[in-house]
Symmetry: C2
Subunit: 480 residues, 2 copies
């Protein structure tokens, strides 16, 4: 471990955060909502700590892969703590635990809120909430397409962005190039959504908030009733489309913007993602038709919004799905485990992993019938490396194990069984709303501090593909 | 496929079943319960069908491994259909679906009943119910220690009985020898339990029924209130002990009876099984103390009974655990997924598989920190073959996939979410009682025929380690 250099990089990342903390200030001034000083203070504190770490920690030694794990995990944690300052300093969220829960939920693009009435928050804080999503989403795209594959985490090697660029041994320029290209796509899609929402008569401010939360598959809304507050089929449609796009590997978007539209169809994960989306919308419509919605168009509007919102782990709502038939609810919960595509901002286990699990099981059965035949698990047309497959299988086992243990802890924190399990998958999968006491019309504020801590850990674990965080708990990780 | 020879062997197995169907007749005559003719008819029909298949189907060709899958799967199915005849013919269970549900639940040692009041059944039919457990248990021991490993199913190769015996290429004598040795142990333990229960003032008839259901980890009781009906700490203790023993690899019992008692401790799966048992009893006691039980001894008695009953997938009850704290219930549900040791009569995923999943995940994390280190997954001191490990990982993915899909189907059959999931794991894990509408004080009679069909399929899948049944659904399985 090169702790000194790790701290230096964390310091640099805090400097970046301190700049980001200045962004809501124009809104604070424009709306005169009284939060300007909170943002200034927060940016100041973050700057000073960042500056001291950056300047104070110098090392001649190079970064090792092991440092990468520490940097990734702690950067998310640091962002949650320092990013919580505006909420806390302004008094909008008086408990620091709550404020950091909300912020981590933002940066991990989870969207689980502790707020009882969202509209009570000053506008600039609402924007900061949405901005934590958007910045978190940026971080995730680069992390999942460039950094995690390099660290060998959970089979992510499969999905790395094959961006043309300098092939020098140094990793930095390569990651920077990848980042620039993909962020360009991200910014472009965000801008398009803002324009489209404004065409639907949403204010610029609210369009910005919702576009940030959509592209990051976050789910924080500037309204307590979420997207349902606008009661507009057009807005629902735009957001459904952009949630779907946000759940796609951003490298495919990059290719598409370069004119290679067929790349979408050539990508097996995308095909399956599209299939799951369409299939689950149809299933939900069958179950909701007559029982919840009488008009087919109305059914399509609400069912497709909710299906895409849950599958992409965004968590926006236009309907209280706890009023839907039990089967519809069950389907939504099952979809929470799946999530979107690898290399998108979506959470969950990711479509590709689920697909490869099925293929692995299929190959196992095939081998029993044809013991002498050689059949490999493939993704697209390329055989999946055995190590990568083992990593994905390990990921699945860990995911389930964490789900079981964390649900037990949440039940120990006083939640009923359904709410406990739903809260865990809603945070581990970075979705937001769950069922029961954390359903779409509820919030996470009532949970005991211990429970909030468990759920924050789940958000971080899910966002960083489990492995990245868990290795830090190995004693040998910290040894020389 | 050698369908002719497969049918011949199924015929031979039916001849054996027809003999078994005569066993309850002395009880029918002694209690004069009016079921004698039903058993005679059932045995007659089974004999005729078995005889026709056995004599009519002759083949010069040898059995292939592929035939093994068909024989194993269909033998269980045939036993459920023909074994249901006494219930159906006597009119005790008027619906044939219900009768075959009860019988398959018996032979797979699940113990899920459709009966509202167990005591309404004539004694001879109660004995037949217990006997289906006991015979099923016999089948499972040999199947899991000799037949399935040979077929390469789900990593069961790890746990095969290494019984000294003829090493000829032909499999039959080897399996027969293994069977004789292990059945000797099985009969011996059953006899000891009968004697011990009778010492607790249980009648010979009821002792027999309960010993059959215990050793098979089945769970059918001759009383509606299950073992709780006797309200005896001594009987609870005896049954707890024998349930625990029934959840152990029977090869270890065989070694122990030959004087090699240390084999227990040398076996890693046994150590973990013991650890899980003790750990879960302690956890249950902590959660139940004060809230359900005030006396520590009473707490120990009921908590340990329920822990062992669920972990070994027996499903006997002395307490209505739905009255226990939510956390206790959650723990019991989690234990349902684990089950007992491989090579025992217990169901579930098996302790060894869960242990190996954890070890696999651990190795995956270890590799991230030490990319150049070579670390293999081991069981005991022996490294686990890569193919076997992949098979176990495939098993886990399939188990979870089946759980999700079957729960969805049960919800579609009209059950609430908790009951649907509990019914699936209670049958897939061959346990019996679940939660909600299939809780410890309820039964499975109220479920729609479609749902009963799904659960029967789950019982069969769980009992035959998934793979054995699923390969039959591959079109290539049936091709030459």
């Amino acid at each position: 471990m090169n702790i000194v250099l790790t701290l230096r990089i964390l310091g640099a990342l805090l400097l970046f955060l301190s700049a980001a903390l200045l962004l809501p200030i124009p809104f604070a001034l424009y709306y005169n909502d009284g939060s300007t000083s909170s943002f200034l203070f927060a940016a100041g504190i973050t700057f000073v700590v960042g500056f001291l770490l950056f300047k104070g920690c110098r090392s001649q030694r190079e970064l090792s892969l092991r440092d990468g794990f520490a940097i990734v995990s702690f950067s998310w944690l640091f962002y949650a703590l320092f990013g919580a300052l505006p909420f806390y300093l302004s008094g909008a969220i008086p408990s620091f635990i709550d404020a950091s829960f909300e912020t981590l939920s933002g940066f991990t693009t989870t969207g689980a809120t502790i707020l009882t009435v969202v509209e009570n928050l000053p506008q600039s804080l609402l924007l900061w909430r949405a901005l934590t999503h958007w910045l978190g989403g940026m971080g995730i795209i680069v992390m999942s397409l460039a950094i995690l594959p390099m660290l060998g985490v959970g089979g992510m090697q499969l999905f790395k962005a094959e961006v043309p660029g300098p092939t020098a041994d140094r990793l930095k320029p390569r990651i920077q190039d990848t980042a620039k290209l993909l962020w360009g796509v991200y910014v472009f899609l965000t801008a398009v959504e803002v324009v489209l929402l404004m065409l639907g008569k949403m204010s610029f401010f609210e369009s910005l908030c919702h576009a940030f939360a959509t592209l990051a598959t976050g789910g924080f809304s500037s309204r307590n009733a979420s997207v349902g507050a606008y009661n507009s089929a057009y807005i629902d449609g735009v957001i459904t489309l952009f949630m779907f796009l946000a759940g796609v590997n951003f490298f495919l978007h990059y290719q598409a913007l370069r004119g290679r539209l067929t790349e979408f169809w050539k990508n097996e994960e995308f095909r399956i993602y599209l299939g799951i989306t369409v299939g689950s919308i149809l299933l939900l419509m069958v179950m909701n038709q007559g029982s919840v919605y009488n008009s087919l168009l109305e059914n399509l509007r609400f069912s497709s919004f909710q299906a895409v919102s849950i599958l992409t782990t965004t968590g926006f709502g236009t309907a209280d799905y706890e009023q839907w038939p039990v089967l519809s609810q069950y389907l939504l919960v099952a979809m929470m485990f799946i999530g979107g595509c690898a290399g998108s901002t979506a959470g969950g286990m990711k479509v590709a992993r689920i697909l490869l699990l099925f293929k692995h099981a299929h190959v196992q059965l095939f081998r029993l019938i044809h013991p002498r035949a050689v059949r490999l698990v493939k993704l697209g047309n390329r055989p999946v490396n055995r190590e990568v497959m083992q990593s994905i299988l390990g990921f699945f086992a860990l995911y389930m194990g964490i789900f079981v243990i964390a649900s037990f802890l949440m039940a120990a924190a006083g939640m009923d069984l359904v709410s406990a399990g739903a809260a865990v998958i809603a945070t581990l999968g970075n979705i937001g709303p769950g069922l029961g006491s954390v359903g779409p019309t509820d919030h996470y504020g009532h949970i005991a501090p211990f429970g909030k801590g468990v759920l924050m850990f789940c958000m971080l674990l899910g966002r960083l593909e489990l492995f990245t965080v868990l290795v830090l708990f190995f004693p040998t990780f910290w040894r020389k």
